[in-house]
C-alpha cells in the first residue's frame, strides 16, 4: 500500500508534470494493492489456491503489469518441484480469470523462507533469494555431505551464470557460511565444488542471508574506460563546474580535500578518477580560474 507520503508525492507529480507522467507510477501502486488484498484476504478465491493446507509450500504472489515496471524479463529458472507444485495451480487459476494474459515468473526477484536442518542441534529458518532457494533445495536430493560442482548447479537450476555465481557466493560468505566452497579465494570456476556446511550455526533462529554485490559481475566491467567522447566532454564540463563551485565557496582548498569533495559530489553521476579531476584542475589553473598558493604547491586559491 502506498504510504501517505508516497501518495501526496504522486499527487504533486501529477499536477506538476501531467497525467501521462504518473500513469506508470499509479499502475505500480495499483498492482501492489491488488496483489496484497488478494493474498491477505482469507475469503478470496486466490487465497484458497496459494495457501492450500495440504502442500508444504506457501506462495505469496505479487502480480505486476509488465509495462509499468522497469524489469527485464529474464529466463525463468527451474524451480524446485515443491515450489513448482504451488505455482502451477496459481498460474492456471490466474489465466482462467484473465483470459488473454501472459504470466511470467520473475525468478530473479523475490525471496523465500526455508527451514534448514544442519544438524539436530542447528535448525534454522533462512530467508534467501529465490535463486538461493533453488540452489539449496538441490542438496536435499544428495547424500549427506555430498558435493556438487558449479557446472552442475548451472545445468540443474538454469540460472544465468553470472547471477548464479553471485548467489552461490552469497551463501559462502564468512558471516553466512551455509555452503562450503572447495577452492580458496573469491573466484568461482566451473568445476568448483560446493557442499552443505553441517557445522553451520547462528545465534538467531531466523537468518537473513544477504546478497553480495559483485563488481566483476557487472554487465560492462570496464565501461568507465570506454565512455564515448561526447560523454567524456560532458563529464569534463561537469567536473570543472564542480571544482569551480567548491572553490567559489571555500576560496582555497588543499589538493586532496578538493579531489575528495569533487569525487563525493560527482559520485551520484559517475565515478571520476583522481587523474581526471586533476586534469580539470590543471585546465582551470591554465585559464586562471585558480592558482596555486605561492608558499604551498598543494593549495589552490580561487581567483574571483
Amino acid at each position: 500500500m502506498p504510504s501517505d507520503a508516497e501518495r501526496s508525492m504522486l499527487a504533486k507529480l501529477k499536477s506538476e508534470c501531467g497525467y501521462q507522467f504518473t500513469t506508470k507510477l499509479e499502475g505500480m501502486f495499483t498492482d501492489i494493492r491488488f496483489s496484497k488484498d488478494a493474498m491477505d484476504n482469507p475469503g478470496s478465491e486466490v487465497h484458497a489456491v496459494v495457501r492450500p493446507t495440504i502442500l508444504a509450500v506457501d506462495l505469496d504472489v505479487t502480480t505486476l503489469t509488465a509495462g509499468y515496471w522497469p524489469m527485464q524479463a529474464t529466463n525463468t529458472c527451474r524451480l524446485p518441484a515443491a515450489a513448482q507444485a504451488v505455482c502451477e495451480p496459481f498460474e492456471s487459476f490466474y489465466l482462467k480469470q484473465h483470459t488473454g494474459r501472459k504470466l511470467t515468473w520473475l525468478t530473479s526477484t523475490g525471496s523465500a523462507e526455508i527451514r534448514a536442518t544442519f544438524s539436530q542441534a542447528a535448525k534454522h529458518e533462512l530467508t534467501v533469494s529465490t535463486y538461493m532457494m533453488c540452489i539449496l533445495v538441490l542438496f536435499n536430493d544428495l547424500d549427506h555431505g555430498a558435493e556438487i560442482t558449479f557446472a552442475a548447479l548451472a545445468a540443474q537450476t538454469q540460472i544465468p551464470r553470472n547471477e548464479l555465481k553471485r548467489h552461490v557466493v552469497s551463501l559462502c560468505t564468512p558471516k553466512h557460511r551455509v555452503l562450503l566452497k572447495k577452492s580458496k579465494g573469491k573466484g568461482v570456476s566451473d568445476d568448483d565444488a560446493f557442499k552443505v556446511n553441517i557445522k553451520y550455526s547462528s545465534k538467531l533462529k531466523r537468518v537473513r542471508v544477504p546478497l553480495v554485490a559483485m563488481k566483476e559481475a557487472g554487465a560492462h566491467p570496464d565501461s568507465s574506460d570506454k565512455v564515448p567522447a561526447a560523454v567524456e566532454e560532458d563529464r569534463r564540463h561537469l567536473c570543472e563546474a564542480t571544482v569551480v563551485r567548491i572553490m567559489k565557496a571555500r576560496k582555497h582548498a588543499k589538493h586532496n580535500d578538493l579531489i575528495a569533495e569533487v569525487t563525493r559530489q560527482l559520485s551520484q553521476r559517475f565515478f571520476p578518477q583522481p587523474q581526471f579531476i586533476k586534469k580539470c584542475i590543471e585546465s582551470l589553473l591554465e585559464r586562471e580560474y585558480l592558482e596555486r598558493d605561492a608558499s604551498d604547491s598543494k593549495m589552490y586559491i580561487y581567483m574571483a
Binding site: 589538493h255 586532496n256 587523474q275 589553473l285 596555486r292 605561492a294 604547491s297 598543494k298
Partner: protein
C-alpha cells in the same frame, strides 16, 4: 635570451664573434642624432638606442644589441633575464621606457645611483648572476622567465623554447633538469608547457629528491601537474 627568437639568436651569434667591434659600433650610434648624448665616463644607456621605434619598446632585438655592446652572449646569459626582471618588465619580450628608466633607480642593479652607462653595467654585470638569489627570490624570477619568453597573448611556451630556456634559467638549482629535458624531447614538437607546469617544476626540484628514489614523492596523493607525474614515470622506467 631564448634562442627561439630567430632574430635575437642571429644577432647574438654575431655578437659573440665580433664582440670587440661592438663597442665601436655603439659609439658610432651614440653620435647619431637620435642616439644618446655621450657623457663623461662612458656611453649612456639611452632608451632610444635600444628601443624599436615602431614598437616603442626595447624588444628582443634591442636586448640582443645590448648583449652585443656588453660583450655577452644574449641567447645564453641568464643575467640579461635578471636585468629585465629587475626592471620589472611586464609585457612579454618588451621593456618599456618607464621600466628602462629604473636602470638608475632600482637598488639591486649595478647602475643604481651611478651614471647609467654601458661601462657601469658591464663592471657590475656579474652581480646579476641568478646564483646569488635566495630560493624565495628565485621563485618569482623563474616565473618571470616564463612570462617574459612567452609570445604576447599566448599562455604557454613551445616545447623547443622550453628546452632551450629551462637549462639556462634553472641552472644547478634542479637535480632533475637533465632527465626532464630528455623527457620533454620525447614529447611531440607541438607540445606546450604552461605556467603551472613551468613553476611547478621548480617547486618539484626543490621538494623532491633526485632520481631514482624521488624522495618526498607521493604517487597516490600527488598534487603535481600530470606532466610531472608522467616525468617521474619516465624517469623510473629509464632506470
Amino acid at each position: 635570451m631564448a634562442p627561439k627568437r630567430k632574430s635575437t639568436s642571429k644577432a647574438s651569434g654575431a655578437a659573440s664573434k665580433k664582440s670587440k667591434a661592438a663597442t665601436s659600433a655603439s659609439s658610432k650610434k651614440a653620435s647619431s642624432p637620435r642616439g644618446s648624448k655621450k657623457k663623461a665616463g662612458g656611453t649612456a644607456l639611452a632608451f632610444a638606442t635600444y628601443a624599436d621605434p615602431d614598437e616603442g619598446y626595447v624588444t628582443f632585438e634591442g636586448l640582443g644589441k645590448l648583449g652585443e655592446d656588453l660583450g655577452i652572449d644574449a641567447s645564453s646569459d641568464t643575467k640579461l633575464l635578471v636585468l629585465c626582471w629587475r626592471l620589472g618588465a611586464e609585457k612579454p619580450g618588451c621593456v618599456s621606457e618607464e621600466e628602462w628608466a629604473k636602470l638608475g633607480s632600482e637598488p639591486s642593479l649595478p647602475t643604481c645611483d651611478k651614471p647609467v652607462t654601458l661601462e657601469t653595467l658591464k663592471a657590475g654585470w656579474s652581480t646579476l648572476d641568478p646564483a646569488f638569489l635566495e630560493n624565495s627570490d628565485f621563485r618569482p624570477f623563474f616565473k618571470f622567465c616564463f612570462e617574459f619568453n612567452r609570445e604576447g597573448t599566448k599562455k604557454f611556451l613551445e616545447r623547443d623554447t622550453a628546452l632551450a630556456l629551462l637549462p639556462i634559467c634553472i641552472e644547478d638549482r634542479s637535480k632533475h633538469t637533465k632527465t626532464f629535458l630528455e623527457f620533454l624531447e620525447t614529447k611531440p614538437e607541438d607540445f606546450k608547457i604552461n605556467r603551472d607546469q613551468w613553476c611547478s617544476f621548480l617547486d618539484f626540484s626543490l621538494n623532491v629528491g633526485p632520481a631514482p628514489d624521488f624522495l618526498g614523492w607521493d604517487a597516490d596523493e600527488s598534487s603535481w601537474p600530470i606532466l610531472l607525474d608522467e616525468f617521474v614515470e619516465f624517469a623510473m622506467a629509464k632506470k
